[in-house]
Symmetry: C2
Subunit: 445 residues, 2 copies
């Protein structure tokens, strides 16, 4: 598997009817979208985020020599040659529990009953596991200690040790995990559970990371009705705002779904302005094509001060199918990036995968912003056809090196999308792919 | 890759010192833990959950014939033979916008300007894209329509059509995506963004799913200090409660971290009792071994009415390393399942991966509860050694079919864990694995 990194191509001359390649549009987005300003977050709030600084170990781990077993801390010479027949008999001078600050010393002929994680007392050189002793009961090897609460007398009297122990056996040495001054984690590390474990273990309660971006998802279209409401003539249910909100969360964002906005430029502009306060990225669907009611285009094409960098949204045609009409730019005084996706459900979903997901991951500071890709054998009854000059993304089911097309090319076929787990990529120059041929596949996993 | 399904083995005779295999312990857990009672959730709250019922399509999708392009709805005969030289000239009878309920009919010699998604008006048989027309401007082919708000006259006058169109070209037929009565999604489907898209598209605002389990994570040990606090003598930082809370979320749960509880049985019992109200699963770490202060064992071994099924927690020794001591059972009047893991950071994390993660996924009703596994070549300087009779799980880094051990076998080595992405499995009967040999690897993803 390789990463779906863009193949760089030379930019064709600029012009109103210029057809952008998928890579050019993506490059433009990724050149604009920078990782969010780092903030200090509590460990568990930083899960899945990218560390922005090297983290150094302040105290060694473990911070002190401690026992890796429940047993007895002793001197090596006192148990040398011990056996079941000739046990070493030692005087138990007390318990060393985990968390105990200053355990009493262990002298010659003495043993301290020690618990896993408890500090090795002064004088003790090794630990014999309780299973190698009589546990102080005088009746042969035991399988464990009796609970202190039930049998306080276990911390005194005598213990018989049946086996010798080498120096520092069952002792975890101070600093054997990490030493003070070591680099625990490097800047750029993604914080999963084991990394959070390490940060907690070295005493870090907060860390500096790129936060998750807040993504506002907004669908447009006067034909849209919310699910569970009554469908009138000419109306359909709004599915894009749900799909893309879910997809944004899946990509790592904190996503806010704004229901469908009617095809009215002023309403749309007002809604976007209202939402800016909670947006690191705005995503709209619909209204970007060549119709007379394409409200996103109408409302946003000239928004923003064009003298300022990144102001305004540019609408383009891309050499892809589905997803030809796309908008990208920024809105508001803080130049919040905005991606305007087409409105057909499959077009908007494919556009999300190709452009919004990488943008979200770039905002998070992740190095790898792309879905994994692989090569697969086309398993189909008939050739796939694709329009020349357009890169086609067909829905497919991938398994064991083969990919099977699911549903047709229609950008309204949302049922097929729900049964696919991959996108089959048919390059611009290819008009037909024979069954059995090798194709590139983006794994949606 | 195959799934890490348990290999069934015959249970050995029961006894206090019986050594359980990894599979036996896991089988016991999975035989007890059932998917949570289904609840009706809003679509976006159901993301990642498992559908418990087949979902049937109530209305066809699309619900009506509609245009897939911005263009003109016309009769086929009226544009037959049209060319740039001899365009068909038609009377524009108005606009059909998306969401329009009852568009006016299109008669012979007429055209309705139609937007993508708008219903095909009565009488119209096909749609010609606007790019095949003069857009009503009389100046040759156009690249799009002018916005209705700027140019309302576009909905009247004449349009020249430069190309013929077949019947139902650029028309999405009613029901061409899914038909009423079709099964949209089957029970057992995991709801990702495309499935949520489909559910919204057919008008489902809520769905019946197994909810995410609420998991309470509790660490025990009087030696534990919370990160960012001052470390006293004999103390270490609590990392398990952070690591396992993060891991539980990663597995799909809603996880609550309860800080460390001191080694006192009554405090622990009270804390567990307090937490029961928000727990579908409880996870503790520490206090399960053979020491005199092993409070989890002390507090829970006899909790619950033993006459009731699943009451009480059983403590066991497992034939594995790390993670030998384990507890499993249930607590409280509702028999909330409880897994008591050992306290060493690596032991508790490995135990989580092997036992808690599958339990969480079983509570969610997921069919596939296991991490993916694969075979890999051991890349190491020297042989791996492993105690006979114990299945060993070593931390490793996996890449391109090879796995490299990271750090040693010590169960306190949390730094190594943070740099691993796989567990190397050394079977019970194997005491040594040579470099270059093939080993089983659990991918931690």
């Amino acid at each position: 598997m390789s990463s779906a990194a863009p193949r760089t191509t030379g930019h064709p001359p600029v012009g109103p009817d210029r057809l952008w390649s998928v890579e050019e549009h993506l490059e433009d987005i990724l050149a604009t979208v920078r990782p969010l300003e780092p903030i200090e977050l509590n460990l568990l709030d930083a899960q899945g985020c990218v560390l922005v600084e090297d983290v150094t170990v302040p105290v060694p781990l473990p911070p002190f020599d401690n026992s890796s077993m429940d047993g007895y801390a002793v001197r090596v010479a006192d148990v040398a040659g011990a056996s079941e027949e000739f046990p070493a008999v030692l005087e138990v001078v007390g318990d060393v529990a985990a968390g105990q600050a200053d355990p009493s010393p262990v002298g010659p002929g003495q043993a301290a009953r020690i618990m896993t994680g408890a500090p090795l007392p002064p004088g003790a050189e090794t630990v014999v596991p309780v299973e190698w002793t009589d546990g102080g009961l005088g009746e042969g090897p035991v399988s464990g200690m009796r609970a202190r609460a039930q049998a306080p007398e276990g911390a005194e009297g005598q213990v018989r040790v049946y086996r010798p122990a080498e120096a520092r056996a069952h002792v975890r040495a101070k600093g054997s995990d990490v030493k003070a001054g070591d680099r625990a984690l490097a800047a750029g590390t993604v914080l999963g559970p084991p990394q959070i474990a390490l940060l907690a273990a070295i005493g870090r309660g907060t860390v500096r990371v790129h936060p998750r971006p807040r993504v506002v998802v907004l669908s447009t279209g006067s034909e849209l009705v919310q699910p569970d409401e009554e469908l009138g003539g000419g109306q359909i249910y709004d599915s894009n705002s749900f799909a893309l909100t879910a997809a944004a969360r899946d990509a790592g964002a904190i996503a806010y779904r704004v229901g469908a906005v009617a095809d009215d430029a002023e309403t749309l502009r007002d809604t976007i302005e209202d939402q800016l306060v909670r947006a690191d990225l705005m995503v709209t669907t619909g209204g970007v094509s060549v119709g007379a009611y394409d409200v996103v285009k109408e409302a946003l094409a000239h928004v923003g001060d064009e003298d300022e960098p990144g102001g305004g949204v540019e609408f383009r045609k891309l050499a892809m199918q589905p997803g030809k009409p796309q908008g990208f730019g920024s809105v508001g005084p803080d130049h919040i990036p905005l991606l305007a996706l087409p409105g057909n459900p499959v077009s908007s979903y494919v556009s999300f995968e190709l452009f919004v997901r990488p943008a979200i991951r770039a905002l998070m500071g992740l190095a790898d912003v792309h879905r994994p890709t692989t090569r697969a054998t086309l398993a189909a009854d008939k050739p796939l056809t694709s329009p020349k000059g357009r890169r086609q993304f067909l829905r497919g089911g991938y398994a064991d090196g083969a990919v099977t097309p699911v549903g047709g090319a229609g950008s309204h076929l949302v049922a097929a999308l729900a049964h696919a787990d991959a996108l089959i990529v048919v390059p611009e120059e290819t008009e037909s792919v024979e069954p059995g041929a090798e194709v590139e596949v983006i794994l949606l996993g």
